[in-house]
């Protein structure tokens, strides 16, 4: 599903976020991307969703080199990926429902189909009763769940999460993790960046460790 092949990412200004990263994530697999802050976890996720582009090496999504995707087709790639950030990135001038509906709107859905899917998605994260609320009135954990609902509403093939539990207490963190495990159990390829090793220790998934911008995990695929 996702493959990195000697990927290097150097930002303008000289900072080298990723030096040499190779790994493979098969379809339906779930893995944790670990490493201390600044190891390049966020950069790695951004390369998959084409928010950033690699300086050298190959990033493959469904066997296709993402760098070869023409600019106007990038949105189609992103519609296959649900991205969750540490900061929930919700729009404060809209209701929870409207926030979750955004990916469907941009893909051209309308009316009843949107309602049906948004409600199903909010139900998944246990926030169906808050659909009319303004996101700013929700707690941190609830906001993060709204952003998860937004990420899964368009039924993505892949979920990428960047420190989704970064701002939450251990109990809420576990709940969020359980959600991801459930999504993965129905076949969604899931990659979660986290530095909270305690939280993921009991979970039976592969760890991809980034160390100062380096990783070599090509041989260990499940």
């Amino acid at each position: 599903m996702i493959q990195f092949d000697h990927v290097r990412k150097k930002y303008p200004g000289g900072h080298e976020a990723l030096k040499d990263v190779s790994f493979y994530l098969s379809k339906g697999e779930m893995a944790f991307l670990t490493g201390h802050s600044g190891a390049g976890k966020t950069t790695l996720l951004k390369l998959i969703a084409l928010i950033e582009t690699a300086s050298s090496g190959h990033v493959l999504f469904e066997q296709q080199n993402v760098l070869h995707i023409p600019l106007r087709k990038v949105p189609l790639l992103r519609r296959k990926i649900g991205v969750i950030f540490q900061n929930p990135m919700l729009l404060g001038d809209r209701s929870v429902f409207q926030n979750v509906a955004l990916p469907l709107l941009v893909s051209g859905y309308s009316g009843p189909e949107i309602s049906r899917r948004v409600r199903a998605s909010l139900d998944q994260v246990g926030l169906l009763s808050r659909e009319k609320a303004n996101p700013v009135t929700l707690s941190g954990g609830e906001q993060q769940r709204v952003s998860i609902a937004r990420a899964i509403v368009s039924k993505p093939k892949v979920i990428l999460a960047d420190e989704p539990t970064g701002n939450l207490d251990p109990h809420l963190s576990r709940e969020i993790m359980d959600l991801f495990v459930r999504f993965n159990s129905v076949g969604v390829t899931t990659l979660i960046a986290t530095h909270d090793l305690e939280l993921i220790k009991p979970l039976p998934f592969r760890h991809l460790e980034l160390n100062a911008g380096c990783m070599n995990e090509t041989q260990t695929t499940s």
Partner: protein
Amino acid sequence: MSADYISNRGSKPHAGKTKRHGSWLAKYLLVHKLAMNNGFERFLKGRLGSVMTVFVIGFALTLPAALQVVVKNAEQFAPIMESSTQITLFIEKDVSLQDVTTLAKEIKLREEVSETSFISPDEALKEFQRDTEIGDALNHLSDNPLPPVILVTVDSQFLGKDNINRILQELSMLPLVKIAQADLHWLERLLGIINLIKQAALLMTIFLIIAVIMVVGNTIRLMSQSYKDEIEISKLVGATDGFVRRPFIYSGMFYGFFGGIISIIFTVFSTSYLQSHVANLAELYASSFMLHGLSFIDSVTLIITGTLLGFGGSWIAVSRYLHELNL
């Protein structure tokens, strides 16, 4: 509900969409309807800022519109200079009075001619003697040196330098006519002034069109900055540039549209204000000259122009912004 929900890809977006919207056109219209509503909402959210932008566009469009009105009225004024479009035909000297009167009647039948009058050599001589001091000297001449003259008044539909010159040409070719002359200076000067105003109007229109594009562009630029979060999140969840751009372009078109309406109001107000003054002036000249305001077509043109400029300005602004955002 279980987590099966997100694995349920039985209805893939594309497969589902055709069924839901029926046709490509229906989907297209729906997308634009949503973007238009969204654009109008953003326009309204601008409140005072939007009102000010609309007024700036309104003023900017009023200037060329007003000049257009001036040009149109000046052109309308030209026929009033009818005296300047009289053609004088000097006839061969030894033609009989009978023949000259017949010729005058024939000329009058031409469609370009509204009137002809005949001045016989005797009449011309009397007039000459009355009006000039050397008149007495003519008494000593054995023969009347003045030729018969036909004065031709050109119909007001056939004014303009080219027309007059053509008519002049044709009349001078007639048998019996020795010389055909017209005093075109007046007309030429008037047309020259009108042309000057036209050129100035064109130049000003170009400047103001650029100004309107920039005003809309700047407003939309500020607007898109205030929607930065929304744009970024939309792009991250797979919005195309077109999806992000569309509502802003509609906002820009609303600015131009309402700016056009404001400029119509301004122009109509100015013309009706000037109307009474023009009426006074026309009375002095015993003329029924009426100031013509914006026609319906002019008004529609103004609105369309405003809307198109709004489109252009917002397109440039949002495209540049998306390019800078580089998401």
